[in-house]
Structure formats: structure tokens, C-alpha cells
Amino acid sequence: MKRILVGLDGSPREAEVLDAARALADKIGAELILFRAISLPTELPPRALAVPPASLGELLVDDARQHLTALAARLPESVLPRVRVDLGAPWAAIRDAARIENADLIAIGSHGYGGIDRLLGTTAAKVVNHADRSVLVIRSTKPV
């Protein structure tokens, strides 16, 4: 196991997923790819109303990439942190990114990749059932 794709969601709970993945990477000498999937949100930031619809995806991807880059900057160099942002439904985007990056392990939170997933954990369930590689599911200790 040498490369871990960490599925993050931009929520306050993502820190626990990243911590767990980092702790494991430290011990087994793996590298980390911080990943975020961007799907069409049900709530838009006010800034979004001022831009043409075509660049909305780009804007969200840019925001996510900036956020991930800031997280990656706090990681030790030993885990060779990289960031990746793709458009798509989180579970499918995570699965596909893991394939493209040839990750040995996917690390994800048990709940919280947007909207109702905070309650049901459907993203984690789908990744678990459809991934062709190992998946580490981390439950947040923070309330929903």
C-alpha cells in the first residue's frame, strides 16, 4: 500500500478523515492525494449569481482546489501531498479518481458528502460497494 486517495468534502468533519489518513500514511510510508468531487450544489454562494453559468463549475473547482492546497501545505513532505478536484457525483468521482491515480487505498468519511448524505452516508456506502480497491471509512466524532 503506497498511495492513499483521501476523499474530502469541505465540511468541518473532513479534518478527522484527513488526520486518520495522515496517521496511516506516516506509519506505512504512503503518499496522500487530497481529493474533492464537485457536483451541482443545491445552495450557491452569492458570488455565483454574478458569473455566467458555464464558468460556475470552474469557479467551484478553483475554490475547492485552493482549499485542498491549503490543507496540503500543512502536511509533512514525507507524504508527498498532492491535490485533485473533479466534477461529478462524489461516489463515482472518488472511484474514478482512485483508478486514474492508481491509488492503493481510498480514505473517506462515513457521512457527509453534501446534503442528505450527512444523515444517510450514501456516498460511503456506494464507494464501498462499487470500488475495485480497498476503502478506509472513518466516522466523524462530531455531531451531524
Partner: protein, 158 residues
């Protein structure tokens, strides 16, 4: 997830669960962790007519249970021997006899036993029901408070 010292590996002797045992062995060796193997045996709820008649609580049921017990013990000891030979790990054995989804006793034990990680295979032996109810692994991942590492079937592994 701080230090991983104790790993719980639920097994049902399917190919993915054997893959999970090997994966856990590799991880335990790297992390210096211990392994507990757990099998939850569910009394069958359906047996074809003509094969045998089973009444819950009756003598036949008992014999079926003890038959299962012997088979499980043999399969478990084979896994322990494999871990010992390949990784030098002395795994502990746990067997539960319980109806219902194996996910619940797995999560319960993980919580009581202060395990740091659960490692298990993707698809258990629950067949078609998985499509409607979700796999055992999926349920464990949803309910468990400790991290759950799910290992795919060997054929699907990259």
C-alpha cells in the same frame, strides 16, 4: 485514528474475507498491531423441504449448531495458521452464534473490545439480499465508530 494496536477482522470464509485476512496481516505486521478474527454464525432460516426438519430449540437444531461449530473452528484455525506462517502473528479467535445481520454484533464487539480498526471483505455470503439491504461491510462502515477498512474481492483488486 491514533495508534492502531488492535485490529478486528470479521470473516465469513468467502474469497473477499480471506483477502481481508491477508490485508490485515500485512497491515498488522507494519503497524505492530494484534489481530482478532471474528466469525458470526447465523442459524439458517430456510432449509429445503425433504432435506431435514429443523425446529428452533429442538435437538436437531442443536446438532446443526454443533456441526457448524466444528466446521467454523476448522476454518478459523486454518486462517490462524496462515497468519502465523506468513506474518508471524498470533491471532485471537472469537465466534458468535446469533441470528440477524452479522453487522450488529461486529459493531458491538468493536465498541466493547476497544478495537482501533476493523478490516473486512466487501461482499459477504449474504447473496442477493445485499442488493436490497446493503452488504454487511456497508452496514458496519455506517454504524462503526472505529475506522473500517474494506477490502475488495481478489479478482476485482487492481
Amino acid at each position: 485514528m491514533g495508534n492502531i494496536r488492535r485490529i478486528l477482522v470479521p470473516v465469513d470464509f468467502s474469497p473477499p474475507s480471506r483477502a481481508a485476512v491477508r490485508y490485515a496481516g500485512e497491515l498488522a505486521q507494519e503497524l505492530g498491531a494484534t489481530i482478532d478474527l471474528l466469525h458470526i454464525w447465523r442459524p439458517p432460516t430456510f432449509i429445503p423441504a425433504g432435506l431435514m426438519v429443523v425446529v428452533p430449540g429442538a435437538a436437531d437444531h442443536q446438532s446443526l449448531e454443533s456441526l457448524a461449530e466444528t466446521e467454523i473452528a476448522e476454518s478459523m484455525h486454518a486462517l490462524v495458521a496462515e497468519l502465523k506462517a506468513e506474518r508471524g502473528i498470533e491471532a485471537r479467535l472469537r465466534v458468535g452464534f446469533q441470528p440477524g445481520s452479522p453487522a450488529d454484533p461486529i459493531v458491538e464487539l468493536a465498541e466493547r473490545g476497544e478495537f482501533d480498526l476493523i478490516v473486512m471483505g466487501t461482499h459477504g455470503r449474504t447473496g442477493v439480499a445485499r442488493l436490497f439491504l446493503g452488504s454487511v461491510a456497508e452496514r458496519v462502515a455506517r454504524l462503526s465508530h472505529c475506522p473500517v477498512l474494506i477490502v475488495p474481492a481478489p479478482a476485482a483488486a487492481a
